[in-house]
Structures are given as C-alpha cells and as structure tokens.
C-alpha cells in the first residue's frame, strides 16, 4: 500500500520567491495536516484540512497558505520566501480530522526546502 507521498523531495529557492509543495494522502484518508520542522526542533503545526476546508491553523504568517483538492491531495504555498523558511515540510494524513486529533496520523517523508 502506498503511504503518504510528498513532492518534491528537495527544493532550493532564493529569497523572495514562491514555492508550492504537494502531498498525496493515503488512499481513503480525507484529512491532511502540514508541519514545518526546522533542523534541531520538533515539528510545528501549520495547517489542517478536512474535506477541502481548513480546520486548524498554527502561528504562521499569511505568506503560508494551503488548499485541499477533491481527491484529498493538498498543496502548501509559501510566498516571499525568507531564509528562515528553510526547513523540512511534513505532510500527515488521517482518515478524518478527529482521528488526526487522536494522533492517528501517518507522516510522509517530507520536502526539504532550502532558501538561499
């Protein structure tokens, strides 16, 4: 069975650019959450989406946005990149939003973003 997939695996951008990260959840999972993990720290919650609606948002600036598509895949967009946005971006899926609350979420391998 395919797990959570994310693309691309690595990405290098320069300051001020825009980036789009993609996530495909496990088949049948309807909830997707996004996390930012800076080197040496734990993941920081960015967004949760369920049934194409935003169900939760962390303390990130408006430069960060996301959406979920009818097939439950998701995109994370970051505008006006800063050096501090360099991190591993993790996507996690769960059957529904309540199970994500219960910790039953499955993580993808992440996208390593480097901003120069």
């Amino acid at each position: 069975d395919a797990g959570v997939t994310q693309s691309p695996t690595h990405l290098i951008k320069t300051r001020g650019q825009h980036v789009t990260l993609r996530c495909s959840p496990i088949s049948g999972h309807k909830s997707v959450s996004w996390y930012q993990q800076v080197l040496g720290q734990g993941p920081q919650f960015i967004f949760q989406y369920y049934e194409k609606e935003e169900r939760g948002r962390g303390n990130f600036p408006d430069r960060f946005s996301a959406r979920q598509f009818p097939n439950y895949s998701s995109e994370l967009n970051v505008n006006a990149l800063l050096l501090g946005d360099s991190a591993l971006y993790l996507c996690a899926s769960s059957l529904d939003w309540s199970l994500a609350v219960w910790g039953e979420q499955f993580f993808g391998p992440g996208t390593r973003l480097t901003v120069l």
């Binding site: 797990g3 959570v4 959450s33 040496g40 720290q41 734990g42 993941p43 920081q44 919650f45 949760q48 169900r55 939760g56 962390g58 993790l90 996690a92 939003w97 994500a100 609350v101 219960w102 910790g103 039953e104 979420q105 499955f106 993580f107 993808g108 391998p109 992440g110």
Partner: protein, 114 residues
C-alpha cells in the same frame, strides 16, 4: 503559553541498558499526550498515546510511558534497548480545548551502541 519540553537532547546507551526519556508539558486541565519516533531514513510514526484511563500506556516495540499528572510528566521507558531503537524521539501534546494543534518537544536523539 502551552509547551512541551524534553529533558535530554542526546542520549547514548549500550544494548540491554534501560531507557527513560523525560517529557514535561505546561498545560492544565485535560491533556492528550503522544510519543512519536523517527528511525533513520524513515517517516515519523506514533509510538504510543495517552488520552485517559490507566496512566501507564504501552506502545509498540516494548515501549511504555507513564502519565503523572502531579508532575506534568509523560516519560518514555523501555527496560532493555536494542541497536534498532536508535532514532529520534518526539514528545507531543495538546490541551483538550485546542483540538487540532499538537505542540511538539524538540526531540531526543537516541544512539544505541551494539
């Protein structure tokens, strides 16, 4: 502010040694607590979780954790570690009043020498 703190950033043990990784949280009231593990080159995965009931929670691969409300702690334990337990361990928690936002600790890197 809500927070989760992990006591040890790097732990080195020999095989068969006992393990205890500390985790403290700052919330009051009802809390839900988790331990996640990330093996080298693999994805984050859930080790165990506490929501209510028996404060001693058993997870996968012989791990357990004890919720001690009076100490705001949720320490992870394993009586005898193996080389394959080498990984990064993360404690996470959320208050019952904030359904979607998990607060994560900084992680503890465990290296088990054969």
């Amino acid at each position: 502010a809500q927070s989760v703190s992990q006591h040890n950033h790097h732990v080195i043990l020999s095989e068969a040694a006992s393990l205890e990784l500390g985790c403290n949280y700052s919330y009051g009231g009802t809390v839900n607590l988790f331990w996640y593990v990330q093996y080298p080159g693999q994805h984050l995965q859930l080790l165990l979780k506490y929501f209510s009931g028996d404060p001693l929670v058993k997870g996968i691969k012989g791990f357990e954790a004890e919720f001690i409300k009076s100490k705001f702690s949720f320490n992870l334990r394993k009586p005898s570690v193996q080389w394959s337990d080498t990984a990064e361990y993360f404690c996470a928690g959320r208050s019952a009043g904030n359904n979607r936002k998990l607060i994560w600790g900084l992680g503890t890197s465990l290296a088990v020498n054969p």
